[in-house]
């Protein structure tokens, strides 16, 4: 789990949908895909339906879409989908037996926690909405007992997403479950209690910026799994950039999606990631 992998299979492949089940407002798409074995937490795949990828809203989708691998059990990969437009809608329609194009695993994964002078920092996983996906596979690898999990959801319909992780403490905008308010408020409380921690986070840009700022103030290392509109997912188009601290840009698909918070001035919301 250190640094990028030695490489995904070169080229997209057809894989069969094993199941596509509702989980509250989300879909959990399970794909039989041996080639994904060895995926590391935080990595993603570019997915497209093999049939009828197009002809939806505004004659889209056209390009493949990026999705975090949420779990890998043996030869089966799971993805968590939120229907926010023509691409996710089409993928949410797929039934067991349908085929999807898969390219991956792609991108830079979460880096393993390393002990410092004071010993091992505890891992705090902070997820928002569909951003829980990469945290699920991260918890699988770190172990449930080794992690504190804080998840935020917009409303009751999305709360079932929490079932993908174990022992999660919740925050909801509408107070339908757990703390009424932002998950970042839970994080601040945790860091006040014990700042010898490492934060791993994924969610909407607004939340990630909150996590970044809180961790910076508390001097806690944070790894943020970012989103950006992507055309290719493997560094070819230079389209998925976010500003890098000190100037220039990072390609989220190859320099990320997991980026050390120290590399970012701010997490900005504009590169096509659904909020």
């Amino acid at each position: 789990m250190s640094g990028p992998t030695d490489g995904a299979p070169f080229g997209r492949r057809l894989a069969r949908v094993a199941a596509n089940e509702r989980l509250g407002a989300y879909n959990v798409l399970r794909v039989a895909d041996p080639a994904m074995t060895g995926v590391l937490p935080g990595q993603f795949a570019m997915l497209a339906a093999a049939e009828r990828w197009g002809g939806g809203e505004d004659e889209r989708p056209f390009l493949a879409r990026a999705f975090s691998v949420a779990r890998q059990s043996g030869e089966e990969s799971s993805y968590v989908l939120e229907d926010v437009g023509p691409g996710t809608r089409r993928l949410c329609e797929l039934r067991a037996g349908d085929e999807v194009w898969v390219l991956g695993p792609l991108g830079r994964p979460f880096a393993a926690p390393e002990p410092d002078a004071a010993g091992m920092r505890r891992a705090i996983l902070v997820g928002g909405g569909v951003g829980i996906a990469p945290l699920a596979i991260l918890q699988d690898s770190l172990g449930a007992d080794a992690t504190t999990v804080l998840l935020g959801f917009r409303d009751r319909e999305r709360v079932p997403g929490a079932e993908l992780l174990r022992g999660a403490e919740l925050a909801t905008d509408d107070g339908s479950a757990g703390h009424r308010g932002l998950v970042t408020e839970l994080l601040e409380r945790e860091l006040v209690a014990d700042a010898h921690a490492a934060v791993y986070s994924c969610g909407p840009a607004g939340m990630l910026e909150g996590v970044r700022a809180i961790c910076e103030r508390a001097g806690v290392p944070a790894q943020l799994a970012l989103e950006a509109g992507m055309a290719c997912g493997f560094g070819a188009c230079f389209g998925c950039v976010v500003p890098r601290r000190g100037g220039g840009y990072l390609r989220v698909c190859v320099d990320g999606p997991v980026i050390d918070a120290a590399e970012l001035e701010h997490v900005e919301a504009h590169a096509g990631a659904p909020e």
């Binding site: 990028p4 030695d6 490489g7 995904a8 299979p9 070169f10 080229g11 997209r12 497209a48 197009g54 505004d58 004659e59 889209r60 989708p61 056209f62 390009l63 493949a64 194009w101 390219l103 792609l106 950006a228 509109g229 992507m230 055309a231 290719c232 493997f234 560094g235 070819a236 188009c237 230079f238 389209g239 998925c240 950039v241 976010v242 500003p243 100037g247 220039g248 840009y249 390609r251 190859v254 900005e268 504009h270 590169a271 096509g272």
Partner: protein
């Protein structure tokens, strides 16, 4: 079907469109398999400029009906770093045997695409590319819709001809001029490039395009760069018309591109007179598209 292009022997007629495939990043993502089964018979670099460029602020992409708009803004590390770091890393690419009849892994020559904001800048770029063995040919990008070049050689054939003529003497390597599609009479620019001494022309670059940010609130352009360039299947019929018109006008070989997704689309471009076909946007959807198309052409 190996093919001869400006004195280069290529394993097949399918190369990449400049700026649509980063062989170095792809090698990191896919490992050595990429280098040993490279999907293109020649590798065209992203546009290189004299000085480093960060490129345009995001968002840089917008998906359209059967296509996309990009406003990347030619980010690149600049000539010096390209020559020092990238060029060596591009050595040893071998074409995917699936694309070549005889099934051997031909070496993949590097075509360096450059852009300058003055004849003088272009001269320095061309001279710098003339030296290294590793550069097999030079492509002049006089057509990027996402960058203001001081130079207007994309808009005036006479100016284009004199600029090309000024560069011709500075290299013995094949000089390819990439034409703008945003013109009334594209063949006139092709003719000018040929008259200036170009060894080949390539087209089409992206069509000038725009998108507004979705959702409520005051209207604002979606792309950080304001406007961008349209590519993909949406533009294929316009590309075929321009390539056919250019091939009918000039004697030098033509590199045809624009929305190619399949061997049939590549065949169309070859049928109207292109010598090579370049694949851009389709590689984003299918990184091995080049090899798939080359195999289909056999």
């Amino acid at each position: 079907m190996s093919v001869e292009f400006c004195g280069l022997r290529l394993a097949h007629p399918v190369i990449n469109g400049s700026g649509t495939f980063d062989a170095i990043a792809a090698r990191r993502a896919f490992g050595d398999a990429l280098a040993e089964a490279f999907p293109f018979s020649a590798y065209v670099s992203k546009t290189i400029t004299l000085e480093p460029r960060a490129g345009n602020p995001p968002p840089r992409l917008w998906e359209t009906a059967a296509g996309m708009i990009n406003s990347i803004g030619l980010p690149n590390k600049g000539l010096a770093a390209y020559l020092a770091e990238d060029l060596p890393a591009l050595a040893g690419l071998r074409a995917d045997p699936a694309g070549s009849a005889d099934g051997e892994r031909a070496a993949v020559p590097v075509i360096t695409n450059v852009m300058g904001s003055s004849g003088e800048e272009l001269a320095r770029l061309v001279e710098a590319c003339d030296e290294p063995e590793a550069i097999a040919a030079i492509e002049l990008n006089v057509s990027c819709p996402n960058v203001k070049t001081g130079l207007d050689i994309g808009a005036d054939p006479a100016q284009l001809q004199s600029v090309v003529a000024g560069l011709r003497g500075r290299t013995a390597k094949p000089l390819i001029v990439k034409l703008t599609p945003n013109a009334a009479d594209v063949p006139a620019f092709a003719q000018a490039a040929q008259d200036g001494g170009a060894d080949a022309v390539s087209l089409i670059n992206t069509l000038r395009a725009m998108a507004l940010a979705p959702g409520a609130g005051p209207a604002r352009p979606w792309l950080g760069g304001g406007t961008g360039g349209l590519s993909g299947p949406a533009i294929r019929p316009a590309a075929l018309a321009q390539v056919a018109a250019v091939a009918a006008r000039v004697a030098v070989p033509v590199v045809g591109m624009g929305g190619v997704q399949s061997a049939a689309h590549a065949r169309d471009l070859l049928d109207v007179g292109a010598t090579l076909v370049a694949v851009g946007t389709e590689s984003f959807r299918d990184p091995r598209a080049g090899a798939r198309i080359a195999a289909g052409l056999q």
